[in-house]
């Protein structure tokens, strides 16, 4: 009986230690991932010019369609998964003043996002996957290069000093688009910021 108890304890202790085990095996790796901004801002226009208050389609809506979306390039190891976190604001504020609490100095923003991971030459808005948004925030995980109808392959060996990441790099694209409601607004410049964070998973 004592022997059985001892054996059981050994296994439990061992299992607990293994569960918590964090070996810095990958700490010797040097995988990098880049997030490259597109040109300019994500801007809403009316016929290429300023948006007119109390106008627009439907409920004073102006849109940045996915075909004209703001693009960010994600450059990383093609067989690794990236996790992209998007934190978008609820409003654009007149002169960026987030203290505004009136609907005459802030514009409701509906942010949408999509990614394309079909490879540098095949990435396009029409070849993208829409990202499910939680309000204007989202977290999504996808491989830098889509695995074409195959399950994930075995994990790669950890990089060594001879590892050249450029040989296994690929580019995915993140698209940001959406709409604003230009109701009864004071004239001026409205803006805010979307934060994008990316890491390997």
């Amino acid at each position: 009986m004592w022997q059985k108890t001892l054996l059981t304890l050994f296994l439990l202790v061992a299992a607990e230690q293994l569960y918590c085990q964090e070996i810095e095996f990958g700490g010797y790796g040097s995988y990098t991932i880049e997030l490259n901004l597109g040109a300019g801002d994500m801007e809403f226009f009316h016929n290429g010019g300023p948006v007119i208050s109390n106008s627009g389609n439907g409920a004073y809506q102006y849109t940045v369609d996915i075909s004209e979306a703001y693009e960010l390039d994600i450059v990383g190891v093609k067989y690794l998964d990236a996790v992209v976190q998007i934190e978008g604001p609820d409003y654009l504020y007149l002169d960026g003043d987030t203290n505004c609490a009136s609907d005459t100095c802030r514009i409701p923003l509906t942010l949408q996002a999509a990614y394309s991971n079909s490879g540098l030459l095949n990435n396009s808005p029409g070849n993208s996957t829409q990202i499910a948004m939680n309000g204007n925030d989202a977290t999504v995980r996808f491989p830098i290069l889509a695995r074409q109808f195959t399950p994930p392959g075995p994990p790669p060996p950890p990089p060594t000093e001879a590892f050249d990441q450029s040989l296994v790099e690929e580019t995915a694209v993140l698209y940001l688009y959406g709409s604003i409601e230009a109701g009864n607004l004071d004239a001026g410049s409205y803006f805010n910021y979307i934060t994008i964070t990316i890491s390997y998973e």
Binding site: Q3, L7, F10, L11, A14, A15, Q17, L18, Y19, Q21, I23, E24, F25, G26, G27, G29, S30, Y31, T32, I33, E34, L35, D41, M42, E43, F44, F45, P50, V51, I52, S53, S55, Y62, Y70, L72, D81, G88, P89, L92, L94, I107, P155, P156, P158, I180, A182, D186, A187, G188, S189, Y190, F191, N192, Y193, I196, T197, I198, S199, Y200, E201
Partner: protein, 180 residues
């Protein structure tokens, strides 16, 4: 016997331990990050206040009184005649707009037979000076409201009274103004 069981237990532990260590290693390789890139994207819009609706009021109606006896054609020079109709358009100060109008109109005698035929001529000016107003065709060039959001319009033309009979005539001058 005890030794044998203990040896088996340790062996199982070792195998289990090695297996789980491998799983942990794999997970750690995939979650390895030397850096976590974060960027901010500016999202913006420039808003202009919507322009007020354009309103046109009649300041002065046509004056066809005191005609010469038997006069059948009345020429009303929109730049100089005292008989012109005068309109005042109000809109967004400084905003561009265009005017278009129907060049002819028949006025009918509401008390009987007879009609008056109008061929319109129109001039306009940012200031209230008729003799400095500029003529334009049925579709004007690009015009602008003055700093008070006003624009003056004078309507003249040729009035044909050949088929007119005594009575009261009524009709309308159709003018369209829209922002550009």
């Amino acid at each position: 016997m005890f030794v044998f069981k203990n040896a088996i237990g340790l062996s199982l532990q070792c195998i289990l331990a090695i297996s789980l260590v491998v799983v942990c290693n794999v997970t750690n390789v995939f979650s390895q990050n030397n850096e976590i890139p974060t960027v901010t994207v500016s999202v913006s819009a420039v808003i202009e206040e919507s322009a007020p609706e354009i309103e046109v009021i009649t300041v002065q109606t046509f004056n066809l009184r005191e005609l010469e006896p038997g006069q059948q054609i009345v020429d009303i020079d929109p730049i100089s005649s005292f008989r012109t109709g005068k309109l005042l358009a109000s809109g967004q100060p400084g905003a561009s707009f265009r005017i278009s109008y129907l060049p002819t109109r028949e006025l009918v005698n509401i008390e009987g037979t007879g009609m008056i035929f109008f061929e319109y001529q129109v001039t306009g000016n940012q200031i209230d000076e008729q003799d400095a107003s500029e003529p334009f065709d049925t579709e004007s060039p690009v015009l602008e409201f003055n700093t008070d959001g006003q624009y003056y319009i004078w309507v003249g033309g040729r009035v044909n009274l050949e088929n007119a009979t005594p009575g009261t005539y009524q009709g309308e001058f159709t003018l369209e103004i829209e922002y550009i």
